[in-house]
């Protein structure tokens, strides 16, 4: 497992430490493609032997270009529960993939920006992550990877329905583009319904911190396309990158301006009170850690907190989660000392206020 600082979720290009685009309001961007191999039943209708053969075939395929060097194949079935959960918390695998009982594996690029899940709901789930708003370049890289895999693997395709998937809601392009938005000011102004309405009008799904079936935590929302048929990948990505995400970012930035203009003292109090709790607490539950980190992140973005950098906050958003916390504190999940005490220690340690 790489150090948390290497994750694209932390929002800084490790090469030059430049801030990612729209990082004040967008934690990360993600593109994923669903693909299935010809000659096999879908995962839900396959025997373990057939699924093992799918794993074998995909591992034998060339990922191509930059993905050849440094990519690790993880046999998820043979991986310890703690490590599986860490992969999930780092958005490298999905929640169902953590617990599924059948043969499956995941390829993870050295920089953790790319993962290929084999035998999730579909034979292949290709995923790319980037900090901030970077959907367009991410999609281009994804199509290169798709083309590269296509040289070794034949994907099921129907002229009317497009790329075929186990669930009809994913067929067609098989693409899901999403942005993890940080919208604390809209929540403070109780204007989140504006986001929900806009999302509904545009056939978008709004989900929680870890995607489908999860709750929003601490003002973080994942916005993604709900439909995959009838529009080209290019059009969809262009709309997300050029219209949808910038629109939500503008809503949030306008809300932040309103908060500052309306009552700066109150805003300052909220962000610094959150920081004070994080720096002094002795017991810290997961949901409150995310809530207070979200407020500190807002304070940093608005320049109201000057002695903390945003990448530290983003790193802590990862490290307060159960598996990361267990690994950092040297324990096992749900065993030993109170998780809340370990979390409080970790956060205080990160802010160097022990």
């Amino acid at each position: 497992m790489g150090a948390a600082t290497r994750s694209p979720l932390i929002g800084v290009d490790p090469a030059d430490h430049r801030e990612a685009p729209m990082a004040d309001c967008v934690l990360s961007s993600r593109v994923r493609l669903a693909r299935n191999l010809i000659g096999f039943n879908f995962v839900n209708r396959s025997s373990p032997e057939q699924l093992a053969e799918v794993v074998h075939r995909v591992q034998a395929a060339r990922l191509g270009g930059p993905y050849e060097a440094g990519t690790r194949w993880v046999n998820v079935q043979a991986t310890a529960a703690l490590d599986r959960l860490m992969l999930f918390e780092r958005n490298l695998i999905s929640r169902p993939f953590v617990e599924a009982p059948h043969p499956r594996c995941v390829a993870i690029s050295a920089d953790e920006t790319t993962s290929v899940m084999v035998n999730e709901e579909d034979h292949l789930r290709l995923q790319m992550l980037a900090p901030g708003m970077q959907l367009a370049p991410l999609a281009e890289r994804m199509f290169e990877l798709d083309r590269s895999l296509e040289r070794s693997l034949e994907f099921a395709f129907h002229p009317r329905f497009g790329y075929l998937t186990a669930c009809p809601t994913n067929l067609g392009t098989g693409i899901r583009v999403s942005a993890m938005m940080h919208l604390p000011a809209l929540r403070m102004l109780e204007e989140l319904d504006k986001v929900q309405r806009a999302a509904k009008d545009m056939h978008l799904a709004v989900r929680g911190f870890h995607g489908e079936g999860t709750e929003a935590l601490g003002d973080f929302f994942q916005v993604s396309n709900q439909t995959t048929l009838g529009r080209s990948e290019h059009d969809l990505v262009e709309e997300f990158a050029g219209v949808i995400v910038p629109r939500f970012v503008e809503y949030e930035r306008a809300a932040r301006r309103t908060l500052m203009a309306r009552d700066l003292s109150s805003l300052d109090d909220r962000v610094h009170r959150a920081l004070g709790i994080l720096r002094n607490c002795r017991l810290l539950a997961l949901d409150e850690s995310i809530k207070f980190l979200s407020r500190v992140r807002l304070g940093v973005a608005l320049g109201r907190i000057s002695d903390i950098e945003r990448p530290l906050v983003d790193r802590l958003l990862l490290e307060v989660q159960p598996a990361h916390l267990a690994r950092i504190s040297g324990g096992e999940l749900g065993q030993g000392r109170d998780d809340r005490a370990a979390r409080a220690d970790a956060v205080r340690g990160a802010f160097r206020c022990l």
Binding site: G39, E121, H158, P159, F161, P168, L171, G230
Partner: protein
């Protein structure tokens, strides 16, 4: 939109919804095939004067059993129950039922637009050609250009009959569906080289979202 006959590329003049054993199926037939199947037509001279009716002969036909996918054996009832399809061939086996479900789930979209694998290029081109010919055939019939329509019908037969890509949803009967299955899923040669799924293979225990 004008539909073509389930049995040939001619325009359908009989449109029936048949419900048997809880399964709904649409029947679209040209005048010739409608008479062949026992529908009464007021006139056999064309599409303008049609009132179709199933005869007792059709009603007395053996009740249809719920059919499974020819490749993986999954039934449409199982698809409805789990929300998941069993294999690529299911999309051909249940094209009509799935087409309606897909349209609802995909905000009204009925056909793919966008990238396709290189190995499916011919398939995509052929589907586009079939759609164009079917569209021209319908236009020719509606303008009563029968000689041109006959030429287009022959050409359509040559390139593989029904359209599948972007116009009328296919209304194939189960027999034609199975006969065209191998035509419409890309890379079928590769599938033919692989062992088919064993009967009764268990669904995966996981229920991925």
């Amino acid at each position: 939109m004008e539909r073509t006959c389930d049995c040939c590329p001619n325009p359908a003049v009989v449109h029936e919804i048949v419900v048997q054993n809880g399964l709904k199926a649409e029947v679209h037939l040209c005048a010739e095939h409608a008479q062949e199947r026992g529908f009464i037509l007021p006139t056999s001279q064309g599409p303008a004067l049609v009132v179709g009716k199933l005869l007792a002969q059709a009603r007395a036909a053996a009740p249809r059993q719920p059919k499974g996918c020819g490749s993986c054996g999954l039934t449409m009832a199982q698809v409805r129950e789990t929300g998941l399809v069993g294999c690529p061939v299911c999309y051909r086996s249940f094209e009509q039922e799935l087409g309606a479900i897909i349209e609802r789930a995909q905000a009204g979209a009925a056909a793919h637009v966008g990238r396709h694998p290189a190995h499916a290029a011919n398939l995509v081109d052929r589907a586009a050609l079939r759609n164009r010919l079917a569209r021209e055939l319908r236009e020719a019939v509606s303008r009563e250009e029968y000689e041109r329509a006959a030429r287009l019908r022959d050409r359509l037969s040559e390139v593989g009959g029904e359209s599948t890509a972007d116009t009328t949803p296919s209304t194939t009967t189960s027999s034609t569906a199975s006969s065209t299955t191998t035509d419409d899923i890309a890379g079928d040669a590769a599938r033919a080289a692989m062992p088919a799924a064993e009967d009764g293979c268990s669904p995966s225990g996981g229920a991925p979202s």
